[in-house]
């Protein structure tokens, strides 16, 4: 069973939509944040001030940020690792790839995606 799954990410999506830091950060920027866990992928679309979990078959017309790792790489995040995705970037626990400008422009949202997954995992 992969560390990430659609139910978990749907709960994370609900948390992200209530997050004031995300609301401010996504207001003017569009991009896709794709999470890859083992062989599976999920994408948070950031468009027109909203963040939405979409199926990965959705055609990509905007800059894409990719965060990639194996289930064992994602698990510390699910367990609430202090520093979350930001620490995963600094300590190279996950691979961060794709459009660099989009990634840094939406860095606060990237961080909050990690926090929302951690919170959603606790709810579970």
């Amino acid at each position: 069973m992969t560390a990430l799954n659609t139910d978990l990410l749907k709960r994370a999506e609900a948390i992200l939509r209530r997050d004031p830091i995300v609301a401010e950060n996504v207001r003017w920027h569009d991009a896709s944040i794709t999470l890859i866990c083992d062989a599976k992928r999920w994408t948070f679309e950031v468009r027109e001030g909203r963040i939405t979990l979409e199926s990965d078959e959705h055609p990509r017309e905007q800059p894409e940020i990719l965060i990639r790792g194996r289930s064992e790489d994602w698990r510390p995040l699910l367990k609430g690792m202090q520093g979350g995705l930001h620490r995963a970037f600094r300590h190279k626990l996950l691979a961060f790839e794709g459009d660099a400008v989009a990634m840094l422009t939406l860095w606060k949202t990237v961080w909050r995606v990690g926090e929302s997954i951690s919170l959603a995992s606790k709810e579970e």
């Binding site: 202090q82 520093g83 930001h86 600094r90 190279k92 990634m103 422009t105 860095w107």
Partner: protein, 268 residues
């Protein structure tokens, strides 16, 4: 407001003048004098506290050559600042990257430094930064640093205090912030630390994953002179801001027994 000129650069400083032994406080990367706002009053009960904004930070001028990108250059500014005030012997306390500045000062002028006090600092880094990181972070250092600062606080720290720490970094010019982490990332004084005979104190938040406590402890083990390592419970990377009272107790504990040395540097 007090300003002085060091090598053509206008530096802002605060001087809580007294006849007590001088203690120079130096802020960490992308911060300024405000980072010591919860500490100066307490420290001034026993010290003449001097606080500076490093070049390009806070109210200090950016050097004409651009933002400083190495810690030894910062150390030169600090020592010339103190010499300019006529202070020849003093204690220096540096937070985070300024722990490295304090170590440079102890190496360059051991006759002037009574004690180098590192707050979540060390004489080397944990190798989490590489050129590819700088390239990426330089796109948007302000947001990256803000997230960094928020996440390296202890999970136990009050959200209100985390917001204040995040506010600190948003005031810093992006080119100064990125050069600060370049300067910090290049820090490695492990080979030279055994030459340090000055007292070295490491005060370290136990929840700091950015500069982990092991690095501060290892630094105190590497120096030849006396040293003390004091962990601070419940604090992350900013113990002086996150838990000022615990920080002050740790500071007091670390400097206990230094009475004679401190008396010797009392100002006339």
């Amino acid at each position: 407001m007090p300003y002085t000129n060091v090598d053509g650069v206008r530096l802002y400083y605060e001087d809580l003048f007294s006849e007590a032994p001088p203690l120079l406080l130096i802020h960490g990367a992308a911060q300024d004098t405000l980072s010591w706002r919860f500490n100066t009053e307490y420290l001034s009960r026993a010290f003449r506290v001097l606080v500076i904004d490093l070049p390009g930070h806070g109210k200090s001028q950016l050097p004409s050559g651009g933002a400083v990108d190495d810690l030894e250059t910062y150390a030169v500014y600090a020592e010339r600042f103190m010499s300019g005030l006529g202070i020849s012997r003093y204690l220096v306390m540096g937070h985070s990257m300024a722990g490295g500045i304090a170590m440079h000062l102890a190496l360059r002028h051991p006759e002037r430094i009574v004690a180098a006090i590192l707050v979540d600092g060390a004489c080397y880094t944990s190798d989490t930064y590489g050129e590819e990181t700088f390239e990426l972070v330089s796109i948007n250092p302000t947001d990256w640093f803000e997230v960094n600062f928020r996440t390296i606080c202890s999970p136990q720290t009050a959200q209100e205090r985390v917001e204040e720490i995040a506010f600190d970094v948003r005031r810093c010019a992006p080119e100064v912030a990125i050069n600060d982490i370049r300067a910090y990332a290049a820090l490695d004084l492990r080979d030279r630390a055994p030459d340090i005979r000055t007292l070295v104190v490491a005060l370290h938040g136990e929840h700091d994953w950015s500069i982990p406590p092991e690095l501060g402890k290892k630094t105190t083990e590497l120096v030849a002179g006396p040293s003390r390592f004091v962990p601070i419970k419940g604090a992350g990377h900013f113990p002086h801001t996150e838990t000022p009272e615990s920080f002050h107790r740790a500071f007091q504990e670390a400097l206990d027994g230094l009475g004679a040395e401190l008396e010797a540097v009392r100002q006339p």
